[in-house]
């Protein structure tokens, strides 16, 4: 069982939960489990069945863009972080 960190902007789709425990040996499988548990999330972070480009995905502290993308393996104690850019600052 690995853990997915839900960014603040997506928590309305996870009943306010900040983390969701998932099963799956790859990032892709873990996300499928996440979407199965919280179906509304799928449309917010995927486009044509693919994870949207504006969401950065990290396994522990490593960006999967520099590993095997969505095929990156996920271990039982790993944490997956979903990270869309944040805008707020001044106003």
């Amino acid at each position: 069982m690995s853990t997915i960190r839900i960014p603040p902007v997506l928590r309305e789709n996870t009943d306010g939960r900040r983390t969701v425990d998932v099963t799956g040996a790859t990032v892709s499988a873990a996300l499928d489990d996440l979407f199965a548990q919280h179906p509304a999330l799928r449309d917010r972070v995927t486009t044509d069945g693919k994870l949207s480009e504006f969401i950065n995905v990290y396994v522990n502290d490593r960006d999967v863009r520099y590993r095997d993308g969505l095929d990156t393996t996920v271990g039982a104690d790993d944490t997956i972080i979903l990270l869309p850019a944040m805008a707020g600052g001044s106003r």
Binding site: Y58, A85, M86, G88, S90
Partner: protein, 366 residues
């Protein structure tokens, strides 16, 4: 074990022969001229700092002061502490020069007496000292946004002696700002934020030079705005501005300290052009508005910009001082609800259109 006292001619010979010269006078006496190659270690600091200055107790040390009184006392202490090869010059310091000893004439002091008093707690820190404080006083830092994130930076950077602070903001102070924008107050409603910011900064530190840019940063003015500054603090509120700032900062080789906030969460990192990743390496694609609402839509915890803004100031300090490890290549995330920090690594993207292999900015502008 005792120490030896020598005259100036012997002292000059011993220094030439490898004795380490330690000046036990005060900073102001040192500033008025000192022995070339000497280390300043005021009498009051000798016992505490000698181990750091001279870790080897058998090393040959030559102590001096103005006439030989203080250096004699220091030499006696060192002998008691087990230093085996201590010599004190018992002669007026003028004799050192007459005997042909190398001498640095007085230099312009790094700090005025008022600055030495004001920044005393900071200059005591070994990584800062008077040299570091001078760097801070000479530094020019531009705050993009004099709002939530800009407020703590403006307050602490000016209080601690960053010499020039530029404020870029075209907004007026509104009531809904006051919950977190501590640069402004209830008596400033309707005032331009740059003017209110200047008033507050002047109150904290009249020495700070405040440069007001009452305009909104855009592609047309960005290079003019940032070119005169050493470090840029990004506390803007939208993606367009962040990308515009990023590209110009990479082009002009300006480090940018990035902060962003949303409700209970904040992110911070430091972009050093061509040394670490840039904003486009980290976020190549802008999310749709609904996934990145501004604070005015989503709300933000009052203390959150305080935490994130001061972490940005901390990065500014290290960039100016050239000390410590910045967040270049790391994104630090703060969760105020759980009071926890997380960190992920961010990489330079070889395909980044701004700083990657095909970048139009590889040519150094200087």
């Amino acid at each position: 074990m005792t120490f030896r006292e020598v005259n100036a001619t012997e002292a000059v010979a011993l220094a030439a022969d490898g004795h380490r010269v330690i000046d036990v006078r005060e900073q102001n006496e040192w500033d008025a001229g000192h022995v070339v190659g000497a280390t300043l270690l005021p009498l009051a600091d000798v016992a505490q700092r000698i181990a750091e200055v001279a870790p080897d107790k058998d090393a040959p040390l030559l102590l001096h002061c103005a006439v030989g009184g203080r250096s004699g006392r220091a030499a006696a202490w060192l002998s008691q502490m087990g230093y085996t090869n201590v010599v004190s010059m018992k002669a007026p310091i003028g004799d050192w020069k007459t005997a042909g000893g190398a001498w640095n004439e007085p230099q312009e002091p790094l700090l005025t007496p008022a600055q030495q008093r004001r920044y005393a707690r900071q200059t005591l820190i070994p990584e800062i000292g008077q040299e570091g404080q001078r760097k801070l006083l000479d530094a020019k830092v531009l705050l993009i946004g004099a709002g939530a994130l800009g407020s703590p930076s403006a307050l602490y950077l000016s209080a601690s002696g960053v010499g020039t602070i530029g404020l870029v903001d075209d907004d007026l102070v509104e009531e809904s700002n006051l919950q977190r924008q501590v640069l402004h107050g209830a008596d400033r409603l309707g005032m331009r934020k740059v003017d209110s910011g200047e008033l507050t900064i002047r109150g904290l530190n009249p020495e700070t030079v405040v440069v007001k840019h009452a305009e909104r940063l855009d592609a047309g003015n960005v290079e003019r705005l940032i070119s005169g500054y050493d470090v840029i603090v990004d506390g803007t509120d939208n993606f367009d501005t962040r990308y515009v700032l990023n590209d110009a900062a990479v082009k002009l080789r300006k480090p940018v300290v990035h902060g962003s906030i949303y409700r209970w969460d904040g992110q911070i990192t430091t972009f050093v052009p061509f040394e670490g990743p840039c904003y486009r390496c980290m976020y190549p694609t802008q999310p749709p508005d609904e996934l990145a609402p501004a604070c005015s839509v989503a709300g933000v915890l009052g203390v959150l910009p305080g935490v994130i803004g001061l972490l940005q100031s901390n990065e500014v300090f290290k960039l100016i001082l050239g000390a410590g490890d910045t967040l270049a290549g790391r994104l630090l995330m703060f969760d105020a609800m759980g009071t926890s920090f997380d960190e992920v690594r961010i990489w330079r993207d070889p395909a980044c259109p701004t700083c990657g292999e095909g970048s139009p900015y590889h040519e150094d502008p200087t």
